[in-house]
Symmetry: C4
Subunit: 229 residues, 4 copies
């Protein structure tokens, strides 16, 4: 495979460009693992004989948190899929930006477990903390996406040949929106009511799931903000 | 790899079609992880010195549940393998249907652990609940398979070129049968006797294992209901 | 990729043959996961302030069991690598034999954890049970390898074109030897002394590691028993 | 894929050479799993109602240890990526050296968890032990890298055709430096102060992250020590 990349031109700042095959394989592996690892937070409840059903029912919030994070990681995977279609090579800096994106995905089981715990056994203060933590994780996850688009905008040699330069510029507002709205969800959950923050997070995830451009490659100007919003 | 898909025609409803390479890799990753994660539910029993063998024997039901779910996930993987051979591209909607199929696989360790627990330490009421939960998970898993076949039937442009349209229509009764029979297993386990429901679930899994068309691609009309049943 | 397999002839018994790409990817995934999952059995010991080092030292057997099983799974992976090089297609039956091989690998973390526990906290009776369990798992693992070679011997159409038929016949004594010697290790560990059984298991694993033909494809008659022993 | 490797010449010592596709896939899988498994050491703290936020804050060291090991495994993956670009085939010995490299990566979650525990709940003696353990794991990890470069230096037939022989020789001081400096970190942490040892480990990881040659293939003499240091 390496042979196909020998001819890659160097980006204009002189940093070396390298193929993306193993980056894709590694990223897909990480997403597949993290979406599957969510299940180990679903634990058999402790129960006395005859109390299993009641114990399972008591853990309702854990199931909701599981579904929510499963969809969320699915959204991120679809978007990441689209992201790596934009490039035809990578540099060391871009590889670290990608690792930062994966970091954002890898931590999700933790705020998910905290959320499930707070809504199962905690009080309102615990739920406020849990919703704020989840929102914080989601908001911070937006930062490396912004870095990715910005870096790609500045290093046109890394762009896949069929990608419209305008498309990349148009993507940059998306992570900023995510950062702001997930941050707002956290503030709402902390200062107003945890359920309100949680609902806004869920609305965000569903919105992203429905509008994910993950698999709509090709005529990319279709994705321009003017048509999408 | 992306290059080989540049020429993909758009499905007739105007939605964008995209290649399936990463969908296959991601799905295989999820199946490989979930079938391996089953083992972490096999735990060293708590025991006093000299009591390890007795402790291990006490956990017999956990081993049976492990084997049962291993075979079940194996069956699903083989069928999924065949499923993705039917298509030559994907859309956003089909990707979400595929994520729903993976969701059905990812949760299996949880009802498996509940089943193992109920048959090790629970009473009949607990076992009823555990069998019903396992059957419910298996029945619900059938729904996205039906959605997949229906979607593919309506979007012929996504079909692999060597797939007989009749074959796809013929597949649609299969998930319906699964939904009904796993649902029936759950009802039997809940209202009659948990062991009865469990036996029916195992019969279903073995039946699917023996008849899995997972790797019988090619002359696909061989798989038509008339010959299979 | 599927396209490259369209022309595969059907094996002589009329069962359908299918490509092995996803079988390889799935198997590699399972091996990678199970070899990595071993680490989650290495747990931080419970300790009072100042007692961490003593706690870690107390868990010495767990580290040995971890290393032993890591090497064991490495051996199995190398052998499996060689195994799949023998075939150019698969059938439903062969896929299930492969799943049985993977089953043998997937369970290893469980007898590993039992072994670590017995040699850390158990008495001689516990260690006997643990060594016998590990040996039983290793012995049973040999069975599907024998089935694989036997099946391949009977279905020559599945053989890769560069594989000498005699080579496949010559492989069949290997899993039988494994079954007998691992079985013997278990009997020794149970009836004579657990350490004796354990030492024999370790000798077997090291022997397999040193002689693994995993990556010596090509002039395969080099591997004939006459030269290997 | 195997077909592309049929023509591989045999290394000069007569051992068989084999393709590296599955070795790459297996290694990527292991790295992806171990970097993701780190998250399962982030556990929901035990708390009484209203105490979740305090419980989370108490676990600050666990988050730092998580970030540190995430970056560390990222560095190793990038370096491993570059490592496998140096070769065009593998032998049984090189496969075992690669498994030893993977072993070094697979164990990281364990010293990470020990470190998190010692800095959360332990005293200075515990922290000394934890820092020394982490440094020991990192130092020992360097050994198989040295073995890899040495083996490759002695078996030029395994080298990828575009790799400068001098480049391989130039790589050999790197793992020696790692072994010495990580060993020094452990000694500092043990005999002087755990925080000092930990800071040196972090400096080492950040240094490797910034200078990782992981994706700077091509004009490899650019990497010669003269320019790198």
């Amino acid at each position: 495979m390496a042979a196909t990349d020998e001819g890659l031109a160097e980006p204009d700042d002189g940093s070396r460009m390298s193929e993306t095959d193993r980056m894709k394989a590694f990223s897909d592996g990480v997403f597949a693992i993290v979406i599957t690892l969510l299940v180990i937070e679903l634990r058999v409840p402790e129960y006395h004989e005859g109390g299993l059903l009641a114990g399972l029912s008591h853990e309702g919030p854990a199931y909701l948190a599981f579904v929510m994070s499963f969809v969320y990681i699915g959204v991120i995977w679809l978007n990441h899929h689209a992201l790596l279609r934009l490039i035809r090579g990578t540099t060391l800096a871009l590889s670290w930006i990608n690792l930062a994106i994966l970091f954002g995905a890898v931590i999700i089981p933790f705020p998910t477990a905290v959320l499930a715990s707070a809504f199962t056994d905690g009080d309102t203060a615990d739920r406020r903390a849990a919703v704020a933590l989840y929102a914080l994780a989601a908001a911070l996850m937006s930062a490396p996406w912004l870095a990715f688009f910005t870096y790609l905008h500045r290093h046109p040699a890394l762009r896949a040949t069929d990608v419209d330069p305008e498309h990349i510029r148009d993507q940059r507002p998306r992570p900023v929106t995510g950062l702001i709205l997930y941050g707002l969800s956290g503030l709402l959950g902390w200062f107003v009511h945890p359920v309100l923050g949680l609902v806004l997070i869920i609305v965000m995830i569903v919105y992203h799931a429905l509008t994910s451009e993950g698999l709509r490659a090709g005529p990319l100007r279709w994705l321009a903000p003017g048509r999408r919003s």
